[in-house]
Symmetry: C2
Subunit: 251 residues, 2 copies
């Protein structure tokens, strides 16, 4: 059942920590380790419990170093229980045949779109300048949409340059796809987030603090869970990241 006129149940969403920040912290912890070699290739973060306000510890373990890549595990704890686990692959890139097969979205430029955003009380979202091309968050009187796709330009509001940590955070910038399909907000949260990186640090540096184009869609909503696939493009048309997540939701 859909209740487009009932008050949006936002509490869960306002109070939830930003999973992208947690993922970025775990990636940065590995990146900062003295034994780390190469750039991030793949990251999977499992959100096992909410991260509470306050101190936390991150532990990293180097599982194996191969000739061109490294496998890491990391976890974030607050006291005894583990809040978040992660696995990361770092690697050295070599010049090979290369091609981007995914087609970049054809959209208006960031400068042609009014700034939008998530509701103001969602603290983390205020860190971003967001320009929605399609699929903005549903308003209080929104109808259900046939599409779960959101496409937006986003950049750091302070103009900070992109690095792998902030790119990781961006891979979780999308509000839950079920909001669009139901035309209303409802409890939902990422359980597992996987991000594949397609550029090295030198290529990423060329993006600077410019807008990047982010697009996400769901594939199947099924009995309390849905999956999301997304991509992030530079303004120059380079595919920086493909990222996928499994999300828990309630009606």
């Amino acid at each position: 059942m859909i209740h487009p006129r009932s008050p949006p149940r936002l509490d869960f969403f306002i109070e939830s920590p930003f999973g992208g920040m947690t993922a970025a912290l775990l990636l940065r912890a590995v990146e900062s380790h003295p034994d780390r070699t190469g750039d991030p290739i793949a990251l999977t973060v499992n959100f096992t419990a909410p991260v509470a306000d306050g101190e936390f510890d991150i532990a990293t373990t180097l599982v194996r170093t191969n000739r061109t890549n490294q496998h890491w595990q990391a976890q974030l704890c607050q006291g005894e229980p583990v809040s978040t686990t992660a696995t990361a692959v770092f690697g050295v890139r070599r010049d090979t045949w290369s091609d981007t097969e995914l087609v970049a979205p054809s959209v208006p430029g960031a400068d042609e779109i009014e700034p939008g955003g998530l509701p103001d009380m969602i603290a983390w979202a205020r860190n971003y300048d967001m320009r929605f091309v399609e699929g903005a968050p549903p308003s209080d009187d929104a109808d259900p949409s046939a599409s779960s796709t959101t496409t937006l330009w986003a950049r750091d509001r302070q103009g900070r340059d992109l690095d792998f940590a902030s790119l990781t955070a961006l891979s979780d910038i999308f509000f839950p796809r079920v909001f669009l399909r139901r035309g209303a907000m409802s409890p939902a949260g990422t359980i597992s987030l996987t991000t594949y990186f397609h550029v090295d640090s030198a290529e990423l540096a060329t993006v600077g603090g410019d807008f990047v184009l982010c697009r996400a869609r769901a594939n199947r909503f099924s009995r309390g869970y849905f999956d999301q696939s997304a991509e992030i493009w530079s303004r120059a048309g380079d595919l920086l990241v493909t990222t996928h997540q499994l999300v828990y939701f309630k009606d």
Copy 2:
């Protein structure tokens, strides 16, 4: 450079273990644990080193049990070095609003297509009855293809019913996408594999040992790595799995 007439370098591929089998073993190890509740929701497997012929041990750890889901870690070892790590989320499904947004491929039925397959010396592939709709493995004189998409019907050659372990193995049934784009086989191997499950055990049981429709494509090939996104559909048109992987390749 492309050398379509040079002898295919198949050794690496013939001798490689089937990552899908390793992933299936890790999932089954968690599934068999007496503390496991619910069905698989998400699985990520990182292939840190090749699995050699011979004995192996799998260790599983329950990280956390929440009200409706569980987080697990697992690893496969042969002696000291860790060969494979995995994280798995299991969960209880509840009746909610549901919808499949991804559009099922429109293809000829399995019975209308001649049996195909991978080269006969690839032992694991002989376990499957494969019917290629498009994107069959390149022949010795193949040209590069503009598309990395493969769509095939597949079923267990012995007619065994699908379960979550065999569904996990199927999520790695695709030969490396770079073979199609280059028109030739070359060294390549999965580094990280993530699978999202969209059905519970009762729904999966209805598929039995029937053909399922598997489709995969790459998004970006970049300096030694590419990512693949894939899906598996039942003959009745239910999206059983979406699955993604990051693959290492050499020219």
